[in-house]
């Protein structure tokens, strides 16, 4: 938790020298290990959505395999895929699947891209169990969370005010919801959350408010929701599309609109260090980091 008060600032002031010294110590040890063993490097580039997750994986993996160094850079899914096609990276990160045209291009260069799903990024919209509303479109969600709709009656519910619940602005989930639901993925759109939105410092804050307030609506990573105590709203892309309830399955197959699989692409079937790394990413340890960063882990068979 972040409990920095005024006294924290003073502490910060005095801790500066110590911190700098500590950082110096860490980097010098790292150089010593590098010198001792020949490094095997993996180049990893792409999606900005994935970049923090990829960095966390790379850092954690370094402790397991110190000889393998993974260099992670962002730049966007397109950049990563382009680099894979040109053969300049070993792993491309992408928050969308490769297009047919891109795959063809890669094959022309003698590269056979292999898709590996590494995590799922899905958000469930939750309301109180007593709320009669059980399905909403993305447009309705956008209207609700920007404050254009303020009464449940407008979306087929009771005549009651809508209480908006969200994560704090520094949460990645908040930003994802802002970009994908409120702004519907349109980068020109400048809509933001209504000012009366309750901002919760934790997922538990959202869950507890939704569970006890019959008029509350919130959203949260699927992994944090509890279908026994709150209602998960079925969401439709637009009024003509089917309403889909959030689940790991509908998140993974792409039918749930506020979810997307996150991929890593390799040139040809992964081998050696890359295969070991990807297996670790998809394994229990890698997926634990996925959950830590607020993404949906892959379903464990």
């Amino acid at each position: 938790m972040r409990k920095a008060g005024i006294c924290g600032l003073v502490l910060l002031f005095f801790a500066f020298a110590t911190l700098t010294a500590a950082c110096g110590g860490v980097s010098s040890t790292a150089t010593a290990t590098d010198d001792g063993n020949p490094e095997r490097a993996i180049q990893n580039k792409g999606s900005d959505t994935l970049v923090n997750l990829a960095l966390a994986w790379a850092e954690a993996y370094r402790e397991i395999e110190p000889e393998v160094s993974i260099a992670v850079t962002g730049g966007g899914s397109g950049t990563g895929i382009a680099a894979l096609i040109n053969g300049t990276v070993d792993i491309a990160n992408a928050s969308r699947a490769m297009k047919e045209s891109e795959i063809e291009e890669a094959r022309k260069n003698g590269i056979d891209p292999q898709e590996i799903t590494v995590a799922i990024d899905a958000l469930a919209v939750v309301v109180n169990l007593a709320n009669p509303v059980d399905r909403l479109t993305i447009d309705q969600l956008a209207d609700i969370f920007t404050g254009r709709i303020t009464n449940w009656q407008a979306v087929g519910g009771n005549d009651a005010p809508i209480i908006l619940v969200s994560r704090e602005t520094n949460s990645g989930t908040h930003v994802y919801f802002l970009e994908e639901v409120i702004r519907k993925g349109d980068s020109e759109n400048t809509d933001v959350f209504a000012p009366q939105t309750l901002l919760m410092p934790s997922s538990v804050g959202i869950t507890s408010e939704v569970q006890r307030n019959p008029n509350a609506i919130g959203y949260d990573g699927l992994g944090y929701t509890d279908p026994a105590h709150e209602k998960l709203i079925a969401v439709a892309r637009d009024a003509n599309s089917p309403y889909v309830a959030p689940s790991v399955a509908t998140g993974a197959d792409g039918s749930y609109p506020i979810a997307r699989a996150l991929y890593m692409y390799t040139a040809g079937a992964p081998q050696g260090d890359i295969a070991d790394y990807l297996a670790w990413v998809q394994g229990a340890e890698g997926q634990a980091i996925v959950a830590e960063l607020g993404f949906v882990p892959l379903p464990s068979e």
């Binding site: 920095a4 005024i6 600032l9 003073v10 002031f13 704090e168 009366q196 901002l199 507890s208 006890r212």
Partner: protein, 314 residues
């Protein structure tokens, strides 16, 4: 012991006196440094706040800084909702804790029999030691659903925060106010009763005015506790950076306080960014507010009042 009663010059050789003088000088020096150090630390804190927070005042147009929207990730840095939020929560807390705290202190100091006082006073002092996060948790789990059942749109409101803060500042107010009443000489009461005043008249007309400076300090410390509290408030006020609409429901709407904003956003903000310096700017505003409260307390108590209270205690 006998030697100590003799004049120093007669019993101690001159070089030893010089040594003692040196010793005294060192002790005096240490005490002086200790006395000044707190002033130096406060000055350092303020300088540090200024250095980190000043860019916000320079880089953000004032009109935006006093705008009505706080949404830092989209570069909306309006401090007004946060100021209003802190104000509402604090005013609510003071409105609850002031009458409750002062009447409790009067009961304890003037009316309660000594044996009851001996039981109650330590218990109230124990209350002061309850960590604020525990009270916040209590407010979140128990108080918020209660407030919601009273008809508020959500249990996480300014009033919920005020209740928790009032409870938190009560021990401070009671303890200090009771000490102030205790310092009023017994002769004042006896005199009042002797000329035929009732107990209530003696308390209202004689004891309370005599204890005024101490009571004022109790109130100011209580307010200071309320406005600076962070974690408990963050848990129960909903943190919506919204300016509540005026009216009877103003206390029953979610608000976001300045302290909660700093606590919630400091951890993830990029160092040196505009958002970062704006959080420090909020710190400056908080610092100035507490400074103003102290200055006001000084003015209200007044030099005359301070002298009287000292005279009373002697």
């Amino acid at each position: 012991m006998a030697a100590a009663n003799q004049p120093l010059d007669a019993s101690i050789p001159p070089d030893e006196i010089a040594e003692r003088r040196w010793g005294e000088l060192i002790i005096e020096g240490v005490i002086r440094v200790a006395g000044i150090s707190s002033i130096v630390i406060i000055a350092l804190i303020f300088l540090f706040l200024l250095r980190e927070g000043l860019p916000a005042f320079l880089d953000i147009p004032l009109r935006q800084l006093f705008g009505t929207r706080w949404y830092p990730i989209e570069e909306m840095f309006g401090l007004l909702p946060l100021l209003v939020g802190s104000l509402i929560v604090t005013v609510g807390a003071v409105a609850i804790s002031l009458p409750l705290g002062l009447t409790t202190a009067i009961y304890l100091g003037e009316i309660a029999p000594p044996w009851l006082r001996e039981i109650l006073k330590p218990i109230i002092e124990v209350l002061a030691g309850i960590p604020s996060i525990v009270l916040g948790f209590l407010g979140w789990i128990a108080l918020a659903p209660l407030i919601q059942n009273l008809g508020a749109p959500t249990g996480l409101t300014a009033f919920t925060g005020s209740l928790i803060l009032a409870y938190m500042s009560l021990p401070t107010i009671i303890s200090i106010a009771e000490d102030a009443l205790y310092a009023v000489p017994k002769e004042y009461r006896d005199g009042a009763l002797a000329i035929g005043a009732t107990q209530w008249q003696a308390i209202w007309r004689v004891v309370l005015p005599a204890a005024r400076p101490g009571l004022m300090i109790a109130v100011m410390l209580g307010i200071g506790r309320a406005i600076g509290e962070t974690m408990a408030v963050m848990m129960v006020t909903g943190n919506a950076a919204n300016i509540p609409s005026l009216g009877s429901g103003i206390f029953f709407q979610p608000v976001r306080t300045m302290t909660a904003t700093i606590a919630a956003e400091m951890g993830e903000v990029a160092q040196g960014s505009l958002h970062y310096s704006t959080l420090f700017a909020i710190g400056i505003v908080l610092f100035l507010i507490s400074f103003a409260i102290n200055a006001l307390a000084g003015r209200l108590v007044g030099v005359e009042g301070l002298r009287r209270s000292r005279g009373g205690m002697l």
